[in-house]
């Protein structure tokens, strides 16, 4: 589905495995609702007027000295511009280390039989194309509602989600944004509770 922002805002459902490209004006609030719980929502942010000025996971982690994102987290760009702020979060924390599944990384992790399964990076490319977002413009993303613990000894695991039906995260745009979403179809690890489900997008602007 393609979503166009209007003055009355936004209220739409994104099916499991589908994606969306949403334009959010500066000051607009975008809420992502985990309708059924335990769903990972892979998300990228771009300055709507210059897609090279895009979300940077590692700049965001470093500047705030925090691996996870939650209320108050500022989402920073590669130029250290603030793209958005998480202004409400009923889940508690969100991953930005785990990246997005791809056909190729599925083969590495789960074997050749998964090569032609649906994957997030393909969804990103499909919905991003209309804004000129291609392979080079895809970068390390946020996984809203996903639980990827990083341990003091430098380990990393995928765990069952902390989310539950109806939990949501809300972002306030600090500038005009393009928000590229892949509602993750991954079925080979617990990131979606082994059962990908729809999400709801609500917008006020």
């Amino acid at each position: 589905m393609t979503v166009t922002a209007t003055t009355v805002g936004l209220d739409t459902v994104v099916d499991a495995g589908d994606g969306a490209l949403v334009t959010v004006p500066a000051g607009g609030r975008l809420r992502i609702v985990d309708l059924y719980g335990n769903q990972a929502v892979d998300t990228l942010f771009y300055d709507a007027h210059d897609i090279d000025n895009r979300y940077s996971a590692f700049d965001t982690i470093r500047e705030q000295r925090a691996v996870f994102l939650t209320t108050g987290s500022r989402l920073l760009s590669t130029r250290l511009d603030e793209l958005a702020v998480i202004t409400d979060d009923t889940c508690g924390r969100h991953d930005t280390v785990g990246g997005a599944c791809s056909q190729e990384s599925n083969v590495i992790r789960y074997g050749e039989s998964t090569r032609h399964q649906h994957a997030c990076r393909q969804t990103f490319l499909r919905y991003g194309a209309q804004a000129g977002i291609g392979q080079r413009q895809l970068t390390h993303n946020i996984n809203f509602f996903m639980n990827v613990p990083v341990t003091p000894d430098g380990g990393l695991t995928f765990e069952d989600g902390l989310s539950a039906p109806g939990k949501y995260v809300e972002l306030t745009a600090s500038r005009d944004l393009l928000v590229l979403i892949s509602n993750c179809p991954q079925i080979n690890n617990p990131c979606n509770g082994w059962n990908p489900t729809p999400i709801q997008l609500l917008g006020w602007w």
Partner: protein, 201 residues
């Protein structure tokens, strides 16, 4: 064949490296830092930190890991290192030096991707907050990578963004070894290597 280049602190350099050659980085002083970006043989496929980490269940770079690309290829293997923790979660400061180096090869801002900060450690607490560990690397510490396909390697010796210590330079030695064996690798890492070797055979 052997080539050594010494980068002073706060400098940047890039080099094409042929498949099979090794790249040895050696700290020329205490608190050295080498922020490294890698681009694969087709000049599009880049080092992908999340895929590298999650397929090997690690939040740090250490010996015995394969550095993987956006498209599931093995770019390089970490053969050995005197340090078992190289930071890869905190990126480099918006890198004018790295960006200039990218520009020399026809790349641009879109290619500033997640990097590895060799020789630096940023500790993760139980609550997942981060703290830079001073004194992690001392002069002489090293890490050796093997190129598993033709690569472009971009290196910046700008001190780590969370460090307030003066940095140090890094020596880069590129050579064709007579023979290198794979270190002990996870099944996922072996799969990435096998797929890459099949594809570039």
């Amino acid at each position: 064949m052997s080539h050594t280049h010494e980068l002073p602190a706060a400098a940047a350099w890039s080099a094409p490296v042929r498949a099979g050659r090794t790249v040895r980085l050696t700290a020329l002083g205490d608190n050295a830092n080498a922020s490294v970006l890698i681009v694969g043989a087709d000049r599009l496929d880049r080092l992908n930190i999340p895929d590298t980490l999650k397929s090997q269940m690690s939040a740090r770079i250490k010996p015995g890991m394969v550095l993987m690309s956006d498209r599931g290829q093995a770019l390089a293997t970490v053969l050995d290192s005197t340090l078992d923790w190289h930071d890869c979660l905190t990126g480099a400061l918006p890198g004018r030096l790295l960006l200039l180096e990218l520009t020399k090869h026809g790349f641009g801002e879109a290619d500033l991707h997640g990097c590895i900060n060799f020789f630096s450690k940023v500790a993760v607490s139980d609550s997942a907050s981060l703290e830079f560990v001073p004194g992690h690397a001392t002069a002489g510490d090293s890490v050796t990578l093997r190129a598993d396909q033709d690569l472009l390697i971009f290196i910046s010796t700008t001190p780590h963004a969370l460090s307030d210590l003066p940095g140090a330079g890094v020596a880069v030695q590129i050579e064709t070894p007579e023979h290198t064996e794979d270190p002990e690798l996870r099944e996922e890492a072996q799969r990435a290597l096998r797929l890459t070797r099949e594809l570039i055979a």
